[in-house]
Amino acid sequence: MRIIDLESFSELKRLPPTDSKCLSVCSSSSEKNTIYAGYSDGTIRKFLDGGVSKRLTYIFQHKDSAIWVLKEIDGFLVSGDSNGDVIIWDKMNGNAVKVFSDFKGDVLTLAVNNDQKTIYASGVDSRVIAYKGKFNFKFDCLFDLLIILF
């Protein structure tokens, strides 16, 4: 993976080569100088200032999947892979928050609407599926919130 300056078209950095292919790249708007990349071995790797700082891996039956697409929405990382899964990752700790397995083919593309907090996914299946972020306050969280407010 190479980082190129768009003004001068010069190569700024060349990241170390890996054994698997890099299929998707996503820059983080909330974190400075951070790049997330999806690989053909099913891993999502975080690059901070040109070096590999963290490796997020989904451990359940996704060894043979390829991460075709990566997007960032509202502090979460969304990936679409060759198993037809759309996975929402917690960027802070690398956990898969939600796994959607609605597609019958590869998920090749994602679009996000940050205002309405909606993810649109599509791919080989030729369907477009929308996933929506929904507030679901639990009573213990609500109680903590009330303590902070009053």
Binding site: S30, K54, R55, L56, T57, I59, D74, G75, F76, I88, D90, M92, N93, G94, N95, V97, K98, F100, D102, G105, L108, T109, L110, A111, V112, N113, D115, Q116, T118, I119, Y120, A121, S122, G123, V124, S126, R127, V128, I129, A130, Y131, K132, G133, K134, F135, N136, F137, K138, C141, D144, L145, I148
Partner: protein
């Protein structure tokens, strides 16, 4: 395979540093689906200014999905007849770019039937992407621009 062991809670504690970045108790749910294209979709864009989705792929045409309030995909059961769920943009113009307007040509029934008027004046209709132009064509003379209708 490696997972961070710092925090494995689904919902972070309120007031902590992490809670400022992640919304508390947020759930992701299935909202709806639609099929606008017949083959693989390779690109999908959300257009914020028009509240729509545009997809493109193997079938070579662009498909525009109009969205409901809050970014929801249109439900086919609730769809009114006047509303279109999709709009397809073909990769090339399906209608003829140039047409001869025979009604305005000289009244010669035999020549009209043949579809081509050898003598006299012909009116040519030129279809463009955002306008329609009318040209008058007389044999052995330069065509004359008459009118332009903008869409």
């Amino acid at each position: 395979m490696q997972l961070s062991s710092k925090n494995t809670h689904k919902y972070p504690i309120i007031g902590s540093e992490e809670s400022n970045k992640i919304e508390i108790g947020k759930e992701w749910v299935y909202s709806g689906n639609t099929r606008g294209q017949s083959h693989d979709i390779k690109a999908l864009i959300y257009l914020e200014s028009h509240q729509c989705l545009i997809s493109g792929g193997v079938s070579t045409d662009l498909c525009i999905y109009s969205l409901e309030k809050y970014g929801k995909l249109q439900d086919s059961f609730k769809l009114k007849r006047s509303n279109k769920k999709f709009l397809h943009i073909p990769p090339f113009e399906l209608k003829n770019q140039v047409e001869i307007c025979t009604d305005l040509a000289p009244e010669d029934e035999n020549k009209k039937a043949s579809g081509w008027v050898n003598e006299g004046i012909m009116i040519l209709v030129l279809r463009k992407t955002f306008s329609i132009e009318l040209w008058m064509y007389e044999q052995r003379k330069q065509p004359v621009f008459l009118l332009e209708f903008e869409k």
